[in-house]
Subunit: 416 residues, 2 copies
């Protein structure tokens, strides 16, 4: 049986392997994590609303009944396209006949080492948990700090006005509304400052202007401050300088200003775009590397003259498409070009409100957008338990106005 | 108003402060964690059954409606009984009129540095999460290891046949039954070895002999091996030597062989027992330190010639008693001696079975014990949400035979 190695169990890799389950190929999924992560909800873990386990799902469980799909926990360090093997940090090399690179993305600091050092990110589960711990810790420290230090500890700068930045800023504003004056009787809501900085002249660039403006108004009503046309010029411990010259004394900088492909740094010699994505042809194949496909954030797939955005939905569709093209190649048929039919995008802006654009340009906002958001996210969460747990978490938050998971849990010592 | 400082928000400290809420004293609770932890269920977090958030509860939320109770997140480093202040690692000293030391316990390695270095513990939330990660990681590594290494990675030695060791060994055996051959198709249940080592000649010394024997049989039926009269003589990386001379090649050593008081190491000059507990009089006062009480694991309270065990229930009762004695002192009344009326003890041994001794010596086991265990644990869990979440978790496990939270989630880099 031809052997397919899938690197990454995110939206692209997982759905590719799912499509290949039960077919006449042997599949090996490699990931450095043992779970599939529903990244669109990471910001809810970071803001004390959901448990990590509500948005994660063990990869091995997904494929438990699929005899032809195996999983291995491994960090992939490179690919030898000549010998057709994948190299891993520890343990054996894995040979392949077909390779699917679905290795996802990591935050893009655009080479700014100071930002990388000081910023919190919202990229994976550890970083979301770290951000949760960090924000609560700022409140604890502020409760016993002097006036100036307190102000600094309670200032949170979120960089990036895309869905991640907007959703996190909204969720943080609601967390503040819940805990300021209540969990922390000496901290008033007006002591807390949330600044959302976006380089462009409006929020949510990928959405129609009306929805960006709506999100802008919603965020300000929730108590956040929006700075448009504002890039981060410099960061040192405790201070963020914007391109306008404004200096903000802030303990916390949350980096949501973009991601770049995390494609086996240096380990796969194929042409890439500046954002790290591998160039692929219209059938998702990496030119010059026989049998190699790239999908999702790892692949710079160009359609109608533009690269498809790094989002979960196109990754998922490309996972299916790559699987189908592999099965076609196995039986000697010609591959079929991939075409992305955008079903729309959406972003939640605080409690009970969202903005969404559906296929055909239908724009939703407020309650209607929120219901659409709810349905789509429940549908794509993997596993009945996760759906149930997330739904209960949202209902709990919605009815009781509570963020139950406000714990500071840190590793006391590193794992040996 | 007289100021009461409570050190520790475990069972003793939390219930002491609860009793003082709404009275005419000012209360400050200090803890290095921002949550109260239901430690009797830690082993269920370590065995992928419950979320950390199901057994933790934010301290600030407990006292949100109590105007006279405040909380501060702080590591207490010592007490100056002369000046009547509590010293903290960072931030201001806290003056007190009355002080309640409820600082809990930590694992007792009896001075064995090698054990402390190699062992996993089950003492707090980070250690339980670390143990969960570690066990799953052993399975992942075993799946690609050679025969000998694989055997070593799949051997788990649990030291200590008290409730913690018995409950964890049982929960681990059931986790193995669930994942071996299913999540890990190449690992058979018989490849996994769980050894429970106890120094005495039977398990559960605090229970009547019949119940210890019952737990012993149950554990063996679940696939664990019990070694009685077995002390750990030596540990190095990958090998555990027992007092019998038996050498077990094992990656994992879980230390459940006892705890010692964690009473502000060296920072409070009062007489202690060898287990670190402070001597107290029959009213829970520390002799020679005016206004200072010690309770729970921190206090060596002697009743009928024996020290009361380090368990959550006596700590809780002593919390109430210390609070009452403080209120009596405030109004000039004489303190009342504390007397512990043991309501019984219980331990769960795998799915749907427990052993329990109730007041008056009534012994329960099997299903009946399990229902008693369920009722008691739900009753003492704090917060409706935690009760609901734990109950759903147990039902999920019970009906579907699933451990949903089997994730390896590690901090990628230390919190700055």
């Amino acid at each position: 049986m031809p052997r397919v190695v899938v690197v990454g169990a995110g939206f692209g890799g997982l759905h590719c392997a799912r499509r290949l389950a039960g077919t006449s190929v042997e599949v090996l999924v490699l990931d450095r994590r043992n779970y599939h992560l529903f990244t669109p909800l990471l910001y809810q873990v970071a803001s004390s609303l959901l448990n990590a386990s509500d948005i994660a799902f063990p990869v091995r469980k997904v494929f438990r009944r699929s005899r032809n799909v195996a999983f291995r926990l491994a960090e992939v360090t490179g690919v030898d396209a000549e010998r057709r093997v994948v190299r891993t940090a520890e343990g054996p090399e894995e040979p392949y006949d077909y390779l699917v690179l679905a290795s996802g993305a990591r935050p893009n600091y655009f080479g700014e080492a100071a930002i990388e050092r000081h910023a919190q990110s919202l990229n994976d589960l550890p970083s979301a948990l770290r951000l949760r711990n960090h924000v609560l810790d700022c409140f604890e420290r502020a409760a016993v700090a002097g006036a100036e230090e307190r102000r600094r500890l309670l200032t949170f700068v979120v960089v990036g006005g895309g869905p991640t930045g907007v959703e996190y800023a909204g969720a943080l504003a609601e967390l503040v509304r819940l805990i300021a004056g209540r969990d922390y009787p000496t901290i008033h809501r007006s002591d807390v400052r949330i600044v959302l900085a976006e380089g462009a002249d409006r929020l949510l660039l990928a959405f129609p202007p009306g929805l960006g403006a709506h999100a802008h108004r919603r965020l300000e009503r929730l108590g956040a401050t929006v700075r448009l046309g504002a890039l981060v010029r410099g960061v040192d411990s405790g201070r963020v300088t914007l391109s306008s010259g404004e200096v903000i004394a802030a303990e916390t900088l949350v980096w949501a200003a973009g991601v770049r492909a995390d494609t086996l740094e240096g380990g796969f010699p194929a042409p890439r775009e500046r954002n790290g994505r591998l160039r692929v042809d219209d059938c998702l194949r990496v030119p010059g590397a026989d049998g190699v496909f790239a999908i999702g954030d790892a692949a710079a797939f160009v359609q109608d003259g533009r690269e498809i955005a790094m989002l979960s939905r196109p990754a998922l569709e490309q996972g299916y498409a790559a699987a189908d093209n592999i099965l076609r190649a196995v039986r000697g048929a010609a591959p079929r070009p991939f075409r992305y039919r955008d079903p729309g995008i959406m972003a939640i802006v605080g409690r009970g409100s969202a903005v969404a654009v559906l296929r055909g340009g239908v724009a939703l906002r407020g309650w209607l957008g929120w219901w659409a958001w709810l349905g789509v996210h429940l549908y794509f969460l993997i596993g009945f338990r996760n759906r149930l747990a997330a739904m209960l978490g949202w209902a709990w938050n919605y009815i009781l106005y509570d963020r139950p998971i406000r714990f500071i849990v840190r590793e006391a010592r590193p794992e040996s």
